[in-house]
Structure formats: C-alpha cells, structure tokens
Subunit: 640 residues, 2 copies
C-alpha cells in the first residue's frame, strides 16, 4: 500500500539553512522590480535608490506673510527715521509660500509694516538680506537621494517623493504564493450538511491571510482530490504562476501522500520530516528554482510550519529586513518538558496576574484551531534542554497586539456559557478581554491558590451541608483575600437525545444496560454533584456504563449525546438547548465567581460587576433559559 | 483684509478630550457594522460576537491511520492469544480524519495490525473504548462563541471561523476619511515645469497613507482653489460622503483662511489654535455630528496634527484598542528646551552608538519633508518642564521598524554625494542603514569626540602643512582609537552658472562687484579651504559680497547659484554636475572617513570597507566624475 515513514527528522535551523542556501544558488532571491505610482507605494520596498527630480522649494519662497523687499532699500530704517517703500517697485505683498520675485532679497513680517496708503508700506527697521526667505532646495535639492534601495515606503516618503517631483518608483515585486489545498475529504467553505468524513477546507485561507500580513500575494488554487495526476498538474500550474509553491496536507504518511513523490518527479525533495512538534510531516523541495513547501494537514501544524519556513523566504524575497516578532517574558503556569531531538512550539495564552505575565499553555492537539484563536503567542521548548519548570520564566513570541494582552482578565475554573456572554460585554463595553480556561471548579481553586488567575468560576456543593463553594474556599484558600460573587443560579439535569428515545426519567435510569453515560472529569462541580446524587440514590458507579468516559465541558458532553456516542450526561440546561437536546432537571446550583482581591484591580473588578449588572447580560442569559438571576452580582461571601 | 490671530492656544490633551466628549455626545462613535465574507476579514474587527455554526469535527473522526473496531471485540487480545477481526463486519480501515462509523468505538494504529489476508486483521492487544477517536466537537462545538465583539481578525480566526461553518461575519465599518486639499498655489502631482509660487500637492497623499495604516479608508478630493464658496461646497460634499472631514492647509492666519469661517457656518468650530509646536494653526470642529480637522499646510505640522488628532478618533471609530506606538529610551545629542505653554514634538533620527541609542534632533523646520523621511521617531518636550539637557535620556515614540533602527550606522560630519551611494550599497548588500548628518568636518570631529557617531566624513586641510585631516585628529581626538580611511579624492572648484556668464576665472574674481558669492558655514572643510585660498591670494573677505551668506551643503550652494540668488560658490564637481552648473577647478582634496574603533563593531566596519571596494560604488562615483578613487578604501592613518 506504499506507506512510508518520514525520510528525515531534520532540525529546524538546518532545514532553514539548507533551503536558503539552495534558493540562493538557484538565484531565487534575485531582486525583481516593478514601476508603480508613488501614491500606491505605501508599505512597498524600493528596488533602487530614488533621487529628487526637482528642488523644493523650486523657487525663493516667502517664509512669512508680509512684504518682499530689497534689503538695501531698508537700511537705516528706524523708529525715528521710518522708510517708505512704493508698492510694485520697492515691495510686493507676499504670503507664506509665495514666490519672492528675483529683484527682492528679503521679507518683512506683515506685523512690522504699516500701510499709510494702499501704495505705500512704512517700515521702522532694516531687513537683513535673505531674512524670511526660503532658499531654493531648502527642503529637497534636485538630484539629491531621497531614499536608498530596499527602503520601506511610509506615508512620509510618499509626501516627500511627490514633493520632489517623483511620480513613479521602482519597487520590489511582491512574491506570489500559490496555495494548493489537496484532499478528497475537503469541501469548499460555505457547503452545508457535510457528510461524515468531509472536512471544511480552511487551511489555505488561513495561510493566505498570513501571506497578506507578510506582504506577499496569495494565489489560492481550487481543492484538488487525492489523485496523483491531478495534484501533479496543479503543482505544475502553480510553479508557472507563483514564486512560492505551497501544497496543503497530503504530507502525512497516510495513503494519499503523493506530495513528496510529485515534488521529486518535478524537481527535488530537500527533506521530508522536520524535527519540530507540531509540524513534523513537513516537506521542503525545489521546482524550477522555486521553493515548494508541503504543509501538514492539521491547522496548528500548518500554521507553524508556514510561519517557520515561508515567512523568512517571503521577507527575503520582498527585500525586507527579517521580521522580529515582539517578545515578552512570562511565567509558565505548568511544566513544559523538552523532548529529545525535537523542538516543541507551544501556543500560550497570556494574562497579567499579580506582578508577572503568566503563560498558560494551550491544548497541544494539532487539530485544535481554537487553540490558535486563543493563542497570544508561542513558547519554543528547544530540544536537548531542561525545558521549563512550572513558574519558570520563558520568552513568548507574541502573535497578538500587546495592548490587547495587557487588558486581559483571566478566569480559570468551571465553565458556564454565561461566562462567554460576560466576556463579550467586558470586551465590548470596557475593552477588557476575558480569557477563560475550563479546568473544573477544583482546578479553579488550585489556580487561585497558585495565584495564576484573577477569578475562578466555581459551583462546588458541600455534600454535608448542601451549601455551595464557601466551605471549599475556607479549606483551599484560607488566608487569601477572597470575594465570592454570584454569576448565576442554574439548572443541572440529564441531557438526553431529542424526544428522549430511551425514556430516561432520572438518575436511577443511568444503571439501565442500554444507557451509555458520558461523565465529567474529576474535580468538576458537575461530577461532584453527580457522585452526590448517586450516593444519595445508593447507586454503584460500576453499574453505570460510560461512567469512566470523561469530558471537560457541558458542551462536550452535549455534543457526545447529540452525535450518538452517548445517551445521557449530567450538565446544564444551556448546553442541552445549545445543541437541541432534551433536558431532565435534577437540581439547581449556584455558580459563583471567586476573586482574589489582591490580584484584580478595582477598576477591572468594577467593570466585571457592571457587566454582570448590565441589561445586555441579563437579556442574553434569560433569553437562553435555565438560569435564575435573582442573586446575580450579589456578594455571597468575603474573607475578613 | 480680514486677517486674524488664532482664537485659541489650547493644550493638546484638553483639545483631544473636548473633541472626544463632543463626538461622544453626538453619537459619532456608535458602532456601524457591515456583513462581509470571512475570507476577506483579515484585520477587520468584529461588530458582534461570532458563534460556531457547526461542530468540528462534526463526526467521530479517527485520530490515526489504522482500523476502526468495536473495543469489546478486542478484549483479551495478546501476543499469545491474538484476535482476528473480519473486514467490514468487525473492522474498517481508516486514515487520520476519516469517519469512524457508528458501530465502532475505537481505532487501532496500523502499526499494531497484521493482515494475514485481505479480509482479516490480526491484533495482539485490546483497544480501550474511544482510543484514537476524536469526539464530535473536540475542536469546536456548534453554538460555542468563537470570538467576542470588537475582536480583530487574524489569519487564525479566519481558519477557525470557516472550520466552524461561519461564512460571513459582521464587522465594524472602516471609517471613511475625506481629505480636501485647498490652495490656489497647489498643483496635482506629476505636473512638470511648475511656475514659481506653485507647490506640488502632497500632504493629502501623505495623510491618505496614514489613514490606510490606521485601518481607515481615505477619500481624497480634488484640489480646491482659495475660493470661499468652492471650499464650502467641497466641505459640504465631504460631510455627506465621509465620516471624518479633513481640510488641508488654509489654516494659517494668511489671507486665504476660510476654513474656520466655513466650519463655523456649516457647524461649529471647537477650537482654532493648538498649544503644540509644530502644528499650532490647527482647527477642530464638528459638522453634522462628524469631526472636522483643519490641518496646517506645512507637511511636518500636517503629519503631527493628523497623528495626534485623527488617529485616536479613527481607532475608536473602528472599535480598535488605542494604538500604542512602540517606544525606546534614547540619549538626546543636544539640548531640547521646553517652551512655556507649548508642547513641542521633535523628530529625531536614532542610532545605536556605543552602549546607548542616541537621538539626533532633526531640522525643526515645519516645511522640511525630508526631516520626516529621516525621522525614526518623535520626542515630546512637554510644556512647563525642564526639557532635556544634551546627554539626557528621553522616550522616543518610534515611527520606523526597530529592526531597521537597530541596523543603523551613523555618519556625522562633512557631506559628499559619494556618502549617499555608499549608504545605498550598505543598505542593499548588507542590510545596514547609513544615517548621515551634514554638520561640516569640524562638526564631525566634535561628534566623534562626544562619541555620538560611528564615523565622520572629513576633509580638513592643515594650512601649514598642506596635509589633510591627521593633524586635526591628533588635536581633537587624542587618546581615541581612530582609523582614517579614504573614501574619495575630489575636485573642489567654483560653481558658476551654466556658460559662466560673468566669466569667472578663479578665486580672484570673487571680489568683482557684480559677483554674488554664496559661502559654506564655519567649520566646513570647504570653508577652511576657501579661507586658505583667499589668504594665499591676499584677498580681504570684506571685499566679497555674500561672504557672510552661508549654506550647509555643496548641493545647497549649487541650488542657490542655479536659482540665481548667487553667482559663485566653492564646492565639489559632483554638486555642479548634479544641477547642471559650470565648474572651475581650484584644488584637489582628500575626503576621508574617520572611524572610532570602539564604537563600530568589526562586521559593520568590514561591510563599509567592502562597500567602498565594491564595483557598484566605483561605477557610481566614476560615472559621476570629479572624483579620484586611487586611494579609496586605503587606511590613511591609524592611532596606536
């Protein structure tokens, strides 16, 4: 079946060096120029030095509003012996920027002139030759070099070039990046009702966006199915129309891997397999002296490989200085181990909590596009190093504007949809980004304890007292300055398929043989609630099939049931409604936000309280149903 | 004549606050949204939160290449008791991403499977339920919020949104900025042979470029002459077609100042006159609940006022976080005095010399567009402060990429056109920017002495020995590690009008009554040469008319002669040729580069030497004429 393992496992820097050397030899980086209108040159880079076509000013210009005179006519003028000058012959009126006629050599400010009659100007002080006269070329002199070659044009240069009579300039051509999505499973965005196994093609559009950010011109090809000949034709066409050839996916070791073979036939495969994670199954090659990049199919891998390999090529080809991503030191929230022989690139979320920025590693799954959306930057964990211990500082390469990162509130703990709406209002009305991670209520308390979050959403039932949250806070956060604010009260219940085909009536039905349960992870408030209910109902967890199968959010549980990999799970009404499931209420619980007061400043806290109290928040939540807002925004408890 | 002085002199922060408050009240910042294709949404900002339309994966997907099985069919499999599964019934082959059919609940990696025959798969280990199966919604779950409102779209979001079935999103409209150039003296770029008094209109294009950089859509109007009614019509049209109205120039107190009057008639003038320098004659107003900005005519003032006033409005209107310009601390090379009641904004050039970045204030002339081109950033000198002493640290707001600033070599001293060509080659071949300032040879030695430049171009004749440069270095740079390298030998001579109408034959003719001389500043090597020649020829400087009129560069001297404000000046052949003047040789001199070795690192120095030795440099210089390259690149002297 023609499977094969990766030929190589090349370290990144070697791979980059190899590709650059070969492109260098192939003359790929030779400057290609085009002549364009200066008015359209913003952000473009000059191919050759540009000299002024004319001087500015190109005539002797008045630097003041006043009268142009001959200095020698004014000598001797004083308070006691004023001098009168005749209009036309001995002076003309000039405004700032006006031409100072050849016969005059100085300008007197209008404030220093009297006009006893329209034809006469009277002055009481002499003029120094050339005073208030801008000489020709004071700004620019014809033939003077305005900008050198390989200079990026800013708005300032557009103004200066036009001023010096330059109308068109020669700039470096933008490299065209041909992007070919391959895969029989792919469908074009916009298709609805996709069949199982079909995947929305989105990588090519993500890479196209990256090209635009880097100053290249993306040229996206239509999807090519996994047919060797068709892919080959597409690559040939691409190598004719583009400067850089990118083949999306088809670079796994799966049966449809034709990319390497095709590159080998049309040109040369430089390597197949990078010693990075994610992104290992990358392919680098050369066809017609142009670089070819085979990017992996998983979006996170695709983005990383493209950034590491294509970005430097594009910048170099554009004649731009190597792009230095903004960096920021941050404290890693958990251990990042280093892997033998592999450089790992970890997407992280950043938040300013206490004195430091803290980097929260995001899901390592290469298929998780949402980890890219949540990502504020990347930490490289170099091979053969110690890696990073939890709490250690690491350099983060930012991929989001620092001003946004700086305005981030962190909420680590249990998840509730109300938190997303709250975040939306905070961003919309207060310019505060709410970055929330779902690790369950207990996980939230741990994060608070480790001072790694501003707040935690918790709904922890004290199974002895039936009271929520406070006893847990006393146990885990004793000594901390804590304030507990209710966000919502909410219905917990069993999520079941629409129409409840199995006729599930309550907890007791979970032991029925045909019922496949889907559980929440340990430490989740919902898990604690379930175990409490089971204990109360005297049900042995071993009797529940699927009890060991865990998901991390209400929506994930609902999704499992909707997709019929499970029949029932405990969760909130909002999740059932979101995915059109039936809901069998079993309990109402309190979902509170627990704040560490010395980690959140007053304005931010006030913003949160304002958002909770806002009409928009109440409307969203009530419209959704399954919530009770009678306590929302009330302080439930505060440490003294 | 309807002149008037500025009504106001309002501090910047008050002016900004006033305008913002009034726009707030006028509802100007109310979000305006438009629905666009996700594929076109790069850099746009969401107007409302966006939720997933479908889950991803939307089916149970294999996370591996292998076979999908029922876990229970595999229980008990081991090395000794392998289990065989029947194709179709008990297993199907799947690749990464393939659908795992409903009847199966686990995937076994292909590496762990044997195929004794095409219909049989043999396994030697059991599968755990749901192993290697990506649950529905592992990445995104339908209805889940992908991004909140007021979120800037990156390539990552484009990928994630498409993946979750979102094809169009509602984004904030880009504000349209209407820019009206006014002034009878203005001509459209591209016009050749302009008459004296005519000015190339370039400000509107510079401001348009700034708008684009800030995410707004510029809408440039044709030039309007200084006719009150015509300008009024243009402003009315603009207020109908644009969100922000910008009137260029016409905001001086000159006779053509209609802008304030017109704004007052069509709406309200909030203020006329800002307490900033440059940029005082700015006008802020409101028409139809839209902001109107009257920007001064001088380019440096126009750029500053537009940045200070329009940028925050545009960002706010776009729903973007306030833009924070990158800042850098730098040592100011000379005193920047603070002015009572006025915030001054000084354009500076930056270079890394020795241990610090040094900020070199550029010409304060508001009409000097080249000072904007040379500018790497701006230092604000707040009113009512001490200002900055020479050598003090100041914060510089960067307006150029730091990676370019970091790669800058500074050459302060005498100017020669060869220096520009050298700079061009350094940038082109070595990615090094040469930033040169023309302060004359003596000024260069002073800059070296103060360790504020990597090198200085000098041509200082020792009038006793006839030797060049070395005696001066010994006198002014004793104790420093200096290396003196020849750049060129060059002809100095008298620049005279084409055809030499006054029949000037040499130095002795400078005393002729009708000859208007134009001199170089004291400390310039050319000035020293002139004085030496005059002394030798026994000529009294008082007998030379124009001896006291000084320019700072060879080209400036040439320009004065070309524009007939002078008849003769001492300068280099290159300057004469550049402006088509005649040239009467009087001496050959050595133009050397003097390096401070502990300020310039070896690679940078090597790059300079390589550039001097390069074919390109020789070609440019020789092609220009008036130069002798026999010593170029040779070390003339070195301190021990």
């Amino acid at each position: 079946m023609g499977r094969k393992v990766y030929i190589d496992n090349k370290p990144l820097e070697e791979a980059q060096a190899l590709l650059f050397r070969r492109l260098e030899e192939a003359g790929f980086f030779k400057l290609q120029a085009e002549e364009i209108d200066v008015v359209d040159s913003l952000g473009r880079i000059t191919a050759v030095a540009v000299a002024a076509r004319m001087s500015s000013p190109h005539y002797s210009a008045s630097a003041m509003d006043g009268i142009a005179v001959r200095a020698r006519d004014t000598f001797g003028a004083s308070e006691t012996t004023p001098i009168r000058l005749k209009r036309g012959e001995q002076f003309v009126e000039v405004d700032t920027g006006d031409y100072v006629p050849r016969e005059f050599d100085a300008v007197i400010m209008i404030e220093d002139v009297n006009f006893p009659n329209p034809d006469m100007a009277e002055i009481i002080a002499p003029a120094v030759p050339w005073q208030h006269v801008r000489p020709v070329g004071e700004d620019v002199i014809a033939s003077q070099m305005i900008v050198p070659a390989l200079y990026p044009i800013r708005p300032y240069e557009i103004g200066a070039l036009l001023t010096s009579g330059v109308r068109t300039i020669s700039v470096v051509k933008r490299p065209v990046v041909g992007i070919i999505p391959t895969g029989t499973e792919l469908v074009e965005p916009g298709v609805v009702d996709m069949a199982p196994g079909e995947i929305m093609e989105s990588n090519s559009q993500m890479l196209a966006g990256m090209c635009r950010e880097w100053g290249a011109v993306p040229h996206r090809f239509p999807i090519v199915i996994d047919d060797e000949e068709l892919i080959k034709q597409a690559v040939i066409k691409c190598s004719q129309e583009a400067d850089i050839i990118v083949v999306c996916s088809g670079s796994s070791a799966g049966r449809e891997d034709y990319t390497a073979k095709i590159i080998g036939e049309l040109g040369e495969v430089l390597l197949h397999g990078l010693a990075i994670r994610p992104g290992k199954p990358a392919i680098l090659g050369i066809i017609d002296n142009k670089p070819v990049i085979g990017v992996p199919g998983y979006p996170v891998s695709a983005a990383l490989v493209f950034e590491l390999i294509a970005q430097p090529i594009i910048y170099r080809k554009r004649g731009a200085q190597k792009h230095e991503a903004e960096k920021m030191p941050a404290r890693v929230s958990r251990k990042l181990a280093s892997h033998v022989g592999v450089d790992e690139f970890v997407q992280v979320n950043l938040g300013h909590v206490g004195n430091d920025f803290i980097a929260y590693p995001l899901s390592r799954g290469a298929g998780i596009t949402t980890s890219l959306v949540r990502s504020d930057g990347v930490i490289q964990v170099p091979r053969g190093t110690e890696g990073f211990e939890a709490g250690e500082m690491a350099q983060v390469e930012l991929n989001r504007a620092p001003e946004i990162i700086a305005r981030t509130l962190v909420a680590i703990g249990s998840h509730d949809l109300a938190l997303d709406w709250l975040g939306n209002i905070l961003n919309l009305k207060h310019g505060i980004r709410l970055s929330s991670a779902n690790v369950g209520s207990m996980g939230g308390l741990v994060a608070l304890k480790r001072r790694e979050t501003h707040m935690a959403g918790i709904h922890l039932l004290d199974t002895d007292t039936g009271e929520y949250n406070i006893s847990y806070i006393n146990r885990y956060l004793s000594g901390e300055r804590v304030r507990l604010v209710n966000l919502v009260k909410r219905q917990q219940g069993l999520l079941v398929k629409k129409g409840n085909p199995l006729g599930i009536g309550g907890i007791q039905d979970l032991i029925r043989e045909e019922v496949r349960y889907i559980n929440r992870q340990k430490g989740a408030g919902t898990r604690i609630l379930l175990d409490y209910l089971l204990k109360a109902a005297d049900i042995d967890t071993d009797d529940i099939s699927g009890y060991e199968r865990e998901e991390f959010t209400h929506l994930a549980v609902a999704a499992a049931i909707q997709s019929d990999t499970a029949d029932a799970g405990l969760g909130i009404y909002a999740a059932a409604r979101a995915l059109g499931l039936d809901f069998i209420p079993v309990a109402e619980e309190r979902y509170d936000l627990c704040f560490l007061l010395d980690l959140i400043d007053d304005t931010a806290f006030a913003a949160v309280m304002e958002a909770i109290a806002s009409e928009d928040f109440r409307r969203e939540v009530e419209h959704f149903g399954g919530y009770d807002l009678s306590l929302s925004g009330q302080v439930m408890w505060e440490s003294d």
